[in-house]
Structures are given as structure tokens and as C-alpha cells.
Assembly symmetry: none
Homo-oligomer: 217 residues x 2
DNA sequence: AGAAGAAACAGGAAAAATCCCTATTTAAAG
DNA sequence: CTTTAAATAGGGATTTTTCCTGTTTCTTCT
């Protein structure tokens, strides 16, 4: 029998089904027990402020309504720095991972991991204070190479208008008419924008515009 | 003691963490036991064809790689019509729900439901053969009002591949090379897809592909 | 007023996309 | 073994996009 006393957990995830079943799963691990689970960061605040019981570890979902993973984590590191937070997320998006780790997460778990990995992660966190899966680790290493994102270019009003219109099925001729400009002028905008974005064609520009919220779906 | 013998389940979900913990949760319900879980439809096929053991109920995730919920369900209703399938999904998108129900799902569960609801759903399915949560039911009712918009068109594998590639900066010539097809064939796909979507040009297609999650940003 | 720089506009041409119609070749069905 | 249907291609024309290089117009500063 191990003589270490079990570590306590709290789960924060809006998918109640996952949260509940995760609770069962973790309780089946030796040396770990889940105190309770909540559906978002705000609820967690309430609980922590009311409850005296502070968990050793928090499993924190990144994508939540009300108060998402970022905010919650920021608040936690500020108010309860001793709690070890493991981020839990669906996607292995580089930026998301980095964001969470920079804000103090002790690890980043993908939701499609094998349960054994979860237990391994929990044990690691208790022992070493952190855990990183191979996949996340490699994503991070890769991000070191991928030259830190060059700053976003600036756009003039007209260029933004153009981008928005170009993100529809209109032809440039129609866009010109819409903007009360010569097609050639619009072509000038196009060229400028392409250069700033370093894209080959209109598709690339549209993708950029969507990614950076200049237009919405 | 209930004298009914327990119903057997199989879980199909690529989120292994959810699948495993869900298994634990369900096994804790009286009268239900999980036989095993798999990560996608293809695996399920293998299992069913090998294993003699046919479950009473299958919990089927909609969004999976390899062989998604639609295909899997179609295959199931064709080959194992006696198995009751409950669709499990993150989003309450009307079209998705309808698609699954039309293909024979006995119910549609959102992943953020309360565990009690899950048990309730399982019990209902065993008793009545179907289950619909209030939320899904209301979504469906609403869809009766919201003038049924024309069905989403169906796409062939190649067309989907094409759409994905066309949602990048590649030219059609490059896409053709990538797909090992003549540019003319690719042009044929383009025309077909344009017609199905009623779009004027590639931009329209890309927007559609993004909206309907054929590609991600 | 005159110079400088930005914004608008244009010519010309190649590449790509779009459209329409037809013809194989292959796979499925009867 | 035909008949059909689907997938694959080709020809050829038009429009649109893309690129490169200029000119004109407007604004602003001194």
C-alpha cells in the first residue's frame, strides 16, 4: 500500500457528461479523488470562495462558455497559485497550447488521449509539478522553429472594405462598382493586400480575412 | 431487484478519454453494461464482424475521423438493424440532428447533458425504442417552422477532397496533380460542386466548405 | 505657388478560372 | 452480354484574375 495520501481534484468542463464520467474514471485511480466538478470558470470561483476545500489539481477545459479557460486560468494563478492546473482541450492548436502554458498551466492534455495517459499525467504532475505529452511537446518544439509570428500588417479602410467584398462571390468589377472606383484601382488594392499578406491569390486572402475576423462566416 | 437482464452497450467515440470514462459511468448504472468501445466506425465494423457479441445499444459520436457518424450509422442500419443507435454530439446543429435521425438514430444526445439524463435516455430507449431530450425536441420543432431550407447536397469522396484542396491557395492544376487526375476531371468536379451549391465561383465554394465544416480555418 | 507623396487610375499581357459540349473508359446493373 | 450510369478527359471560348509598369490627380507641407 502506498502511504502517500491521495491528491484531490476538481474538474472544470461544460460537457457535463465528460465531467461526470471523468470523475468516475479518476476516482477509480488509486491516490486520486475528485472533490466535485463545475461547468465553467465562474462556478469554480464561487465554489472556491465558498468551499474551504482547495484541490491539489484542477482539470481545466479550455473551451467553455461564460468564463473560458484563459480567464479562469489567469484568475487561478493570481488567486490560488498553489493549485496545479492541467489544461484539457480538444484541439492541438499551437497558439492555444502556448497561451495556456504561458498563463501557468502545468500541462496540456488532449481529450482524445488514452485514460492510462491521464493517470500517468496526474502522477507526473504530483511528482514533478508538470506533465507534457509527446504530442504537445513536439508541437511546442515545432513552434520554436516556426519563426515567431511576424506582426500583422496594417490595412487602410479601403483595403478592409475591399477584403470584405472580396470575401463574397462578387467579381472585382462588381466590387469596383460597389465601391465607386475604377476596376483598376480595386486591382491596386488587391495587389497591395496580396503583398502585405504574402498570399498567391484571392483564396488565400479570404482565408486570412476569416482567420483574423475581418469577415465572418 | 429488477428481473430484466442488463442491456449491453458499445461506445464509438474518437475521444478516448470520454469513451473510457463514459464506460465507467454507464457500468455504474444498474442494468447497463458496456461491452467495449472503439475510436471510429471502421473499428466498429471490425469488432462487429469478428466478435459474435452484438450490443443492444450503440452510443455513436457524430464527429469522428476515418469513418464518421453518418457513414457508420448508415452501415449499421443496413447491417444490424436491430441495434439501437443513440447519436452523441457536441453541437445542436439542426441539420446534423436531422441527418442522424433520418438515418435511423433512435435519439440524439448532446455531450453536455447531465449524466442522469444519459441514464434516463438509456432506459427510455430500452423501453420505448427511442429518446429525445427537450432541447433536441425543441430544435426539431423549430425546424418545422423555419421553412425547411433545401437539403444539404451530398458529396462524393472525390468532391470533398477537391473542396478541401480548393480551399487553399493551390491552383486547379496543382490540385489535379495532387489528386492524380487530369485538370479536366478536376474541372468536372468543380462544375458539379458549383451546381450543387449554386455558387458562382471558387470563393463561394470555400465559404460553403467552411460554414459546413468540410474544412477548418 | 511648387515639390513630394499618396491615392486613383490605366495599358498590356500572361495565367487561371469558368463555362459549355462532347467523348471515352469503367463500373454497376439488368 | 447488353444497357446504364458514373467517372474521367479533351476541345475550345470567354471571363476573371493576377502581375508589371506606368500616368494622372489630389493632398499636404513649406
Amino acid at each position: 500500500m502506498s502511504k502517500t495520501k491521495p491528491s484531490s481534484l476538481v474538474i472544470v468542463d461544460d460537457h457535463k457528461l465528460l465531467a461526470s464520467s471523468l470523475e468516475k474514471l479518476i476516482n477509480s485511480f488509486p491516490n486520486f479523488n475528485v472533490l466535485y466538478h463545475v461547468g465553467n470558470g465562474a462556478e469554480l470561483q464561487h465554489q472556491l470562495e465558498a468551499h474551504a476545500e482547495i484541490p491539489d489539481i484542477i482539470l481545466l477545459d479550455v473551451n467553455m462558455p461564460i468564463m473560458n479557460g484563459y480567464e479562469t486560468l489567469t484568475w487561478l494563478t493570481a488567486n490560488y497559485p498553489s493549485i496545479k492546473v492541467l489544461a484539457l482541450s480538444m484541439d492541438d492548436d499551437e497558439d492555444v497550447i502556448l497561451k495556456m502554458l504561458r498563463r501557468g498551466a502545468k500541462g496540456y492534455l488532449l481529450k482524445d488521449i488514452h485514460p492510462d495517459k491521464l493517470e500517468e499525467a496526474l502522477i507526473e504532475v504530483v511528482k514533478n509539478g508538470y506533465y507534457h505529452s509527446e504530442k504537445v511537446a513536439s508541437t511546442l518544439l515545432q513552434s520554436l522553429h516556426t519563426e515567431r509570428e511576424e506582426e500583422q500588417p496594417e490595412f487602410k479602410e479601403k483595403e478592409i472594405t475591399f477584403m470584405k467584398l472580396a470575401s463574397t462571390e462578387m467579381t472585382y468589377k462588381e466590387i469596383a462598382k460597389e465601391m465607386n472606383l475604377s476596376p483598376k484601382t480595386v486591382d491596386g488594392y488587391r495587389q497591395d493586400v496580396f503583398n502585405k499578406l504574402k498570399v498567391r491569390n484571392r483564396i488565400g486572402m479570404v482565408i486570412y480575412a476569416l482567420k483574423h475576423k475581418y469577415v465572418e462566416l
